[in-house]
Symmetry: C2
Subunit: 129 residues, 2 copies
């Protein structure tokens, strides 16, 4: 088995039972998201946010360190975020803490996946022999 | 344990030992990515692509069904893609097949994660008792 460099950490973060008011429209969602990126020391290079009707937001920040995305279901109090970060400067955990507080999530479920690791395929099912 | 609706499937896809020429600059990477989205029947609502110097690309498509992103390391022949899709129309597997062929990847490693499943936390480590 050869070892190889890894290409960063990919966080999939589910925010459950959020305050729906923060998730309905681009304005508050974008503000929260930009603040999370800033406090995590991400360098934003491009952004796009999209308003669904009657409510709900998709948004992405391209950052020098890779990206952050958010998709909201205000009717379910749910937001799905992913944070892909390469390098040492940015702290994704800070972004997750900011988002948890700002969305007023009652539960935050995080899974972390190391990208580009040949031969270390992640499994969805526990590999119990 | 309550069951709840799920909020879509999130594919993390590592493309290994790609043709570096397809990964160096926005032009070819964007063309390939838009074609993959189109063939997968995604509805693109916004896009951003960013050129790294001297080479390498970050890009994202916001789609009605959520998003696709790509980050390339041409010097390593590596591309990290994620595809988050909600709904029945779009077929992420088609996008993955298009990208594998167009990047000339020798190996494609896919992991799939269902978002928003309360109480079904994914684990990185096999849970061997």
């Amino acid at each position: 088995m050869t070892t190889r460099k890894d290409f960063g950490q990919h966080y999939l973060v589910d925010f459950l039972r959020c305050d729906p008011e923060t998730l309905r429209s681009v304005g508050p969602t974008r503000n929260i998201f930009l603040r999370a990126a800033r406090e995590a020391k991400a360098t934003v290079v491009a952004e796009d946010f999209y308003q669904f009707e009657p409510e709900g937001v998709s948004g992405v920040l391209l950052i020098a360190e890779s990206h952050l995305s958010v998709h909201t279901w205000p009717e379910d109090g749910f937001a799905a975020v992913d944070i892909f970060t390469c390098g040492e400067e940015m702290d994704a955990e800070v972004a997750i803490a900011v988002l948890t507080a700002a969305f007023r999530a009652e539960e935050t479920v995080v899974s972390v996946h190391t990208r580009g690791q040949l031969g270390e395929r992640e499994s969805e099912e526990p590999d119990v022999g």
